[in-house]
């Protein structure tokens, strides 16, 4: 454990995030503890509304109002192993320095993530100059051209505007903008949701290539199990704002522990099995407004026991992997 602690470039500790709304408080993230190890691809999987995107935004302290962190800390250590700093306690200046330069983020919708009135080159120039104001325009363009070459985009696209580019191209430019300053960590929030399948396949390959080339650590937030399976080393499965299970990608797919993980996997159609019907998980995602002292998955869980409905299971270690489920806690 000490070993992994040292390797962690980002450590989320007991993080809770709430959105006060008119009918109560939405507890989007509840007591999440998670560390991101240097050089890995960590997948965060879950249904929509499970808190995974909120988690990503919190790492850059970009939660949208009225969302706020109610407890916990997010320690960032960085690639060079410097002193860990709590992102949530940072002042504005350190935050601006962190965003883009150390931790970069790409978003769900590439079609709307570029300013429609700003040309591609001006996007790059801004991205560089925000952090390195002394870099001359010409060098900014040279760097942009170099990164576009890595992304397989011709340099002539630099002078074009977002509306002149396809969705896949815009997504690649978003990645280029994210990587132009060689950040330590890339947060990818549903990066392929808006892309079609062919583009998605190319995107996965590209991201893995860039990860090696730029010595990146990647946090991949997605509801798409296939995508995460292809890329992630470790996977955190989230449900109802909590981590249900955290294990290596292999373990998750070979032997899921949490009934929710199993259920998720059953929902993915498998072309090798002769399935007559798709399996849907019964019930609907949990209500995050009304707090109940129970496992959030209990109402939909095929293996729910009495204890599941009366108290919340903690995330516990089971031989190198973690799960939050009473099924195992009692046996252990």
């Amino acid at each position: 454990m000490a070993e992994t602690e040292r390797e962690a470039i980002l450590e989320i500790r007991d993080l809770s995030i709430a959105y006060p709304i008119s009918i109560g408080t939405v507890r989007a993230v509840e007591g999440v503890t998670l560390s991101v190890r240097k050089g890995e691809v960590l997948g965060i999987v879950g249904e929509s509304g499970c808190g995974k995107s909120t988690l990503g935004l919190a790492v850059l302290k970009l939660l949208k109002a009225p969302g706020r962190v109610t407890s916990g800390s997010i320690l960032y250590r960085g690639r060079d192993g410097a002193e860990a700093a709590d992102i949530l306690a940072m002042d504005d200046k350190s935050l601006l320095d962190l965003r883009g330069r150390k931790i970069a983020m790409i978003f769900q919708n590439p079609l709307t993530s570029l300013d429609p009135l700003v040309s591609v080159e001006d996007h790059f120039i801004e991205a560089i100059k925000v952090h390195e104001p002394s870099v001359p325009r010409k060098e900014c363009l040279a760097r942009a051209e170099a990164i576009l070459a890595d992304l397989g985009i011709e340099a002539r696209r630099l002078s074009e505007y977002p509306y002149q580019l396809s969705g896949g191209m815009r997504q690649r430019i978003m990645i280029g903008l994210a990587l132009i300053l060689h950040p330590d960590l890339l947060l990818a929030d549903e990066p392929t949701t808006a892309l079609d399948v062919i583009v998605e396949a190319g995107f996965t390959e590209l991201l893995m290539k860039l990860k090696r080339q730029y010595d990146l650590t990647v946090v991949l937030v997605s509801h798409n199990l296939g995508l995460v399976a292809e890329m992630a080393d470790r996977i955190a499965v989230m449900y109802g704002g909590r981590i249900a299970e955290l294990a290596s990608a292999n373990d998750i797919f070979e032997a899921p522990m949490h009934p929710y993980t199993r259920g998720l996997m059953d929902c993915v159609p498998n072309i090798l099995l002769d399935q007559k019907e798709l399996v849907a998980m019964p019930g609907s995602p949990p209500d995050l407004v009304n707090e109940t002292p129970s496992c959030p998955f209990a109402p939909r869980c095929p293996k729910a026991m009495d204890i599941c409905r009366s108290s919340v299971p903690a995330l516990k270690d089971y031989g190198g992997r973690q799960a939050a489920c009473w099924l195992y806690e009692r046996k252990a």
Partner: protein, 338 residues
């Protein structure tokens, strides 16, 4: 660039039929309206023979259609005709008064945008706070206030009670406008003649009328700016640029405001005619020697040719401004193909 020039040429051609239609309507309405220049000049008790003679002199005895054809022929030669009341060309008072109106309108516009846009941005950024509430209240109140009443109130408060600003005219009595008057645009004239004392006086006289006009119209722009900024601030590219470490100021003014300005510019083109209409009332309230007051005067006198001439100039002014708006629009937004 060629694309833009071609578009401008096309638009200019389009103003010809527009002015033609407008002019036809004004021509007919004026002659259908009760009263005519002759009775306005001679009063109600002149002998019929004198009236008939005068009417024949002015060509008013002919059928409307014949008058119309005559007028169009004249207009085609680029001649707005002669006044029916005074012995002068129609173009004379118009060219005298037009600069005063343009100066007032443009200054009003500057005040309007200078108040409306920053207040709207502030309200959007401070959404649901006291600032936001106060600014929205301001916007709704000034939106409801008639421009002449706003003028009277400003005159009373700043002119009479506080005695801070003049309430009438373009220059004070100590300034002789003949000394610098070249183009009729006093700000430009005084600047170029280096007469800074007069420039100060001109600006001093502009304050109340320009604010009257600007404040009244700023309500629309506050609300429009606020609504658009709220929308744009929620957009993905704003979040994405924040995630890249772009400072808040640059996010708000560089990305968000620029995008929010597009509908504001459109609105500007639409509101410009309201601005001119407001200017007519403001000129009257502040004894501003502009086209608005001239128009009003000549409507009382039923000076048909001068009224028609003024309407033509107003129409050209409005279509010129909307043309500029369209070009600015195309420059800001790369997606617009003119």
């Amino acid at each position: 660039m060629r694309r833009i020039l071609r578009y401008v040429g096309g638009r200019l051609l389009l103003t010809v039929p527009m002015v033609f239609v407008l002019l036809t309507m004004v021509f007919v309405v004026l002659r259908v309206m009760p009263g005519d220049p002759v009775s306005a000049m001679l009063g109600g008790h002149a002998p019929q023979a004198v009236i008939d003679k005068k009417k024949a002199e002015l060509g008013l005895d002919k059928p409307i259609l014949a008058q119309y054809v005559d007028y169009l022929g004249q207009l085609a030669r680029g001649d707005l005709g002669d006044s029916m009341i005074l012995k002068e060309k129609v173009s004379k008072p118009i060219s005298d008064k037009l600069p005063a109106t343009i100066e007032l309108t443009l200054c009003g516009l500057v005040v309007c945008l200078g108040l409306g846009v920053p207040l709207g941005v502030r309200a959007a950024r401070k959404r649901r706070t006291g600032h936001d509430f106060g600014i929205r209240l301001y916007a709704n109140v000034v939106y409801c206030i008639p421009v002449f009443w706003m003028g009277l109130m400003l005159q009373m408060i700043f002119g009479v009670f506080l005695d801070a600003f003049p309430i009438a005219g373009r220059v004070g009595s100590r300034v002789v406008s003949g000394e610098f008057d070249r183009t009729g645009f006093y700000i430009i004239d005084t600047l170029f003649s280096g007469n800074f004392e007069a420039l100060g006086d001109v600006l001093y006289h502009l304050v109340l009328p320009a604010f009257t006009l600007g404040i009244t119209l700023s309500g629309v722009f506050v609300r429009l700016t606020r609504a658009n900024m709220l929308d744009v601030l929620k957009s993905d590219y704003v979040l994405a640029s924040r995630a890249r470490g772009v400072p808040e100021r640059a996010v708000v003014y560089g990305h968000a405001l620029k995008n929010a300005l597009i509908p504001i510019i459109t609105m500007l083109g639409l509101q410009f005619s309201a601005l001119l209409a407001g200017a007519i009332l403001t000129e009257t309230t502040f004894s501003w020697p502009g086209m608005g007051r001239l128009l009003l005067e000549r409507i009382y006198l039923r000076d048909y040719p001068t009224i028609q001439g003024i309407i033509v100039v107003y129409a050209l002014f409005v279509s010129f401004v909307s043309l500029i708006v369209d070009v600015v629009y195309a420059i800001i937004d790369p997606r617009v193909r003119l």
